[in-house]
């Protein structure tokens, strides 16, 4: 028997590959009253809170959103069915494509800045013999800061006046003041830098945990073979972290595609829509541009984003399935 034969998802059912070839014992049907009396009831009761909470706070809103995307409603007066008109509205809105482009730009920049930084930090920290706990705490500290507080703090840093924090630092080395979030070109990278600072700590912890599972003898063997730090990272660390790296990558892409907080609090989508993202546009549909609240269009755009991300995730996992196994 090989482990691959038992891997879920293989063509043959698990029961068919029992080593002695005998038929597996027939399992009692789940849900029978006997099972409930033998402990299944307790399982069910334990399950109920989770099911109820998940149903009420996750699935019910999702179903409601799907229904609302086909309606014109302000949530006060009776809704009217409009079919796919909301989807047509959002897809015909030029701002949708601006938001899509900006969201993609944010995700790309976040990938370039934000993906390697935690990995490099984790690898370096794992090499440190002393004070590793201190470095870990320092790396995680930004995650502890409430996101709104962090953005308000960084607003001071990004003050475009010569007296702003970053501009003061630049002034020490003779660089003139920069506009940061007050300029359409510089605004999005500025947002990404803050977002990376705020989120990197969590990913560092994940990588550090994954690094502890790498067998030390692999590093010992590499050292015996004369490998230096970079070779060890290249041939031991990265291959061993492959599975975690693939998961964090797709989580980062999904997370950045739903970016809202930074553009909302830093720039409100400006200057001139240069930081307008999909979720910010959803917010504008629902709350900003129309007092009636175009909740139908808002949910329609949300569903479009959800479908895009679902398709992206499926394609990603299909492409990377072989690499990550």
């Amino acid at each position: 028997m090989t482990t691959t034969e038992l891997r879920p998802g293989a063509d043959a059912p698990i029961a068919a590959v029992l080593p002695d070839g005998s038929a597996p014992p027939r399992r009692r049907r789940r849900g029978s009253p006997l099972v409930l009396l033998r402990g299944g009831l307790a399982t069910l009761v334990f399950l109920v809170p989770m099911l109820v909470v998940f149903g009420v706070f996750s699935w019910y809103p999702i179903v409601q959103a799907a229904i609302m995307s086909l309606q014109k409603t302000n949530l006060v007066t009776d809704p009217t069915w409009v079919g796919l008109a909301n989807f047509v509205t959002v897809l015909k809105n030029p701002d949708t494509w601006v938001a899509l482009r900006n969201t993609g730009w944010f995700a790309l920049l976040a990938l370039l800045f934000g993906y390697p930084v935690p990995l490099v930090a984790a690898v370096l920290m794992s090499e440190v013999r002393r004070l590793r706990g201190l470095f870990t705490a320092l790396a995680y500290l930004p995650v502890v800061v409430p996101p709104v507080v962090a953005v308000l703090l960084w607003k001071f840093f990004y003050d475009a006046n010569p007296t702003g924090v970053f501009n003061t630092v630049l002034g020490w080395v003779g660089i003139p003041p920069q506009p940061w979030i007050q300029n359409a070109v510089a605004a999005m990278p500025s947002l990404v830098v803050e977002a990376t600072w705020a989120a990197a700590g969590g990913t560092v912890i994940i990588y550090l945990a994954a690094l502890t599972s790498v067998p030390p003898e692999l590093y010992d063997a590499a050292e015996v073979d004369g490998a230096g730090l970079w070779r060890k990272i290249q041939h031991v660390t990265l291959p061993q972290l492959r599975g975690v790296l693939f998961v964090t990558l797709i989580l980062q892409v999904i997370g950045t595609a739903q970016v809202f907080l930074e553009p909302f609090l830093f720039t409100g989508g400006g200057p001139n829509n240069s930081t307008l993202t999909i979720l910010l546009l959803v917010y504008r549909y629902a709350f900003q541009n129309s007092l009636g609240g175009d909740y139908g269009a808002a949910t329609a755009l949300s569903l479009v984003l959800a479908v895009l991300l679902a398709v992206l995730s499926i394609v990603y996992f299909r492409i990377t399935r072989r690499w990550s196994s």
Binding site: A42, V45, T267, Q288, L291, G292, G293
Partner: protein, 457 residues
């Protein structure tokens, strides 16, 4: 035993879940335990001075004493489009709330305000409202959905201390746009602060561009019968944007922050970072209550008007009632509106009591305003409280002397907030991109907003 203990724990978990879910949807008490109508009203802007809240609480106490069957519960409140829309949709608005003139007609059309016709018509002064003002909160059939409580004209606010620091005379504020530009440039050069600033975000950029447009004789929409045409590319708007472009890029007189809205520009002005900006004539209250403005530094004058059809964009506040309010709450709500917002305008005793209460808490009395009824009523009500007026009148006299000679104009009617939102981007583009193409930006606003207007037809 083990199993039954497990079931008991599981049962407790299920009960806790049910209790938590039940706690998520409390039903607000419509009446108090002793049978009084529990009326929820808005109070002051979050962050207001404690003395301001003390003054408000004192007024609540006076109201409850006069209406022993009503208990008032107050909530801090600042109208912003997004938070208001969320509260409206979520059903969490108090029974009485205030909204700007801009949005009343949209809310009436959407069926989101309570019909107050009977209650308002029962007020002594119902027939005395300025018809043009009352029309703001009435539908085409004359049904009344709110009570106009205050009106303002847009004006030029300036920081007298920065004027002095720059070597300018604060008692001789600018009277033309060229003078505004010259003073802004001087302030920026001499003090390092923004000589002139404008709002750009959350639809306020479009609002203030409308103010600048009207002041140059332009209009953002024209109405012929039932046909509305969006005219954002009019000469007044173009002139206003070119003016901003000159101040920003040629004079470097607008500072470095081009992402400002009503709240943040007030904050920056209160902190002494801005020399001049345009906004409603009534913001002195916010500047003192929430921004800790030193009254000695405040100056107010009229907008320069240039061009044949130039005028001052006006605005104001309407007190409205939650559409979900029942008869008892609606009646109590109008009593509160009458007491808190209106009596000080029509009743001498109430005016004096209101002014005395506010002044004892160092809150502004005598903020420049436009008449809700007529000029004589406004003058009389100011006369009643003249002993308590603490807004430095000599510093706002330029406005009071000039505003009543200026043409007062209402806001654009069709899709106002969407129009303002689209114009936000244009203002931001002009202030952050030296090569912004004003013509093409305005053409796009025309196209986008006209599509919304046409969709209504």
């Amino acid at each position: 035993m083990k199993s039954s203990r497990r079931i008991a724990i599981a049962g407790l978990a299920a009960l806790a879940t049910a209790a938590s879910l039940a706690a998520c949807s409390p039903t607000p008490a419509a009446t108090t335990a002793d049978g009084k109508v529990d009326l929820r009203v808005v109070s002051l802007i979050p962050g207001s001075d404690q003395k301001a809240f003390d003054a408000f609480d004192a007024q609540v106490e006076q109201f409850e004493k006069a209406n022993p069957d009503i208990h008032v519960t107050s909530e801090e409140y600042e109208w912003t489009g997004p938070t208001f829309a969320a509260q409206l949709a979520g059903g969490t608005l108090p029974d009485v709330f205030t909204i700007p003139f801009t949005d009343v007609q949209t809310l009436i059309a959407n069926g989101q305000l309570a019909d107050l016709t009977d209650e308002v018509n029962g007020l002594d002064y119902a027939a005395s409202f300025n018809p043009n003002v009352l029309a703001v909160s009435s539908d085409a059939g004359g049904r009344i959905f709110g009570v106009p409580t205050a009106a303002y004209g847009n004006a030029l606010h300036y920081n007298r201390a920065l004027f002095e620091q720059a070597g300018l005379d604060p008692d001789s504020p600018p009277t033309t746009w060229d003078e505004v530009r010259a003073d802004a440039k001087t302030i920026a050069e001499k003090t390092g602060k923004a000589g002139y600033a404008t709002m750009t975000q959350n639809n306020t950029g479009g609002w203030q561009l409308a103010v600048a447009t009207y002041a140059r004789g332009g209009r953002l929409e024209t109405v012929h019968g039932d046909t509305v045409t969006v005219t954002a590319d009019n000469t007044g708007t173009k002139a206003a944007l070119e003016y901003l472009h000159t101040l920003r890029w040629d004079d470097d007189a607008m500072g470095n922050n081009f992402l400002l809205d009503w709240g943040t520009i007030n904050q920056a002005f209160g902190a002494g970072e801005i020399g001049m900006y345009t906004s409603g004539s009534d913001i002195y209250t916010n500047l003192v209550q929430a921004q800790k403005l030193d009254p000695a530094t405040y100056g107010l004058t009229t907008l320069p008007l240039e061009g044949a059809d130039a005028g001052v964009l006006t605005g104001g506040t309407v007190a409205a009632v939650n559409i979900k309010a029942d008869d008892a709450h609606r009646a109590a709500a109008v009593k509160w509106i009458d007491f808190y917002y209106m009596q000080k305008l029509v009743n001498q005793d109430a005016a004096v009591l209101d002014a005395k209460t506010l002044s004892e808490s160092d809150q502004p009395v005598g903020v420049p305003a436009l008449p809700i009824f007529d000029q004589a009523t406004l003058d009389t009500s100011r006369e009643w409280v003249k002993d308590y007026i603490n807004v430095p009148q000599d510093q706002v006299q330029f406005f009071l002397d000039g505003i009543f000679d200026q043409p007062i104009l209402p806001e654009p009617k069709a899709h106002t907030q969407e129009l303002y939102a689209a114009l936000d981007n244009v203002v931001q583009a002009v202030l952050t991109d030296e090569n912004a193409d004003i013509d093409s930006l305005l053409t796009r606003v025309n196209t986008d907003v006209q599509a919304l207007v046409d969709a209504d037809a």
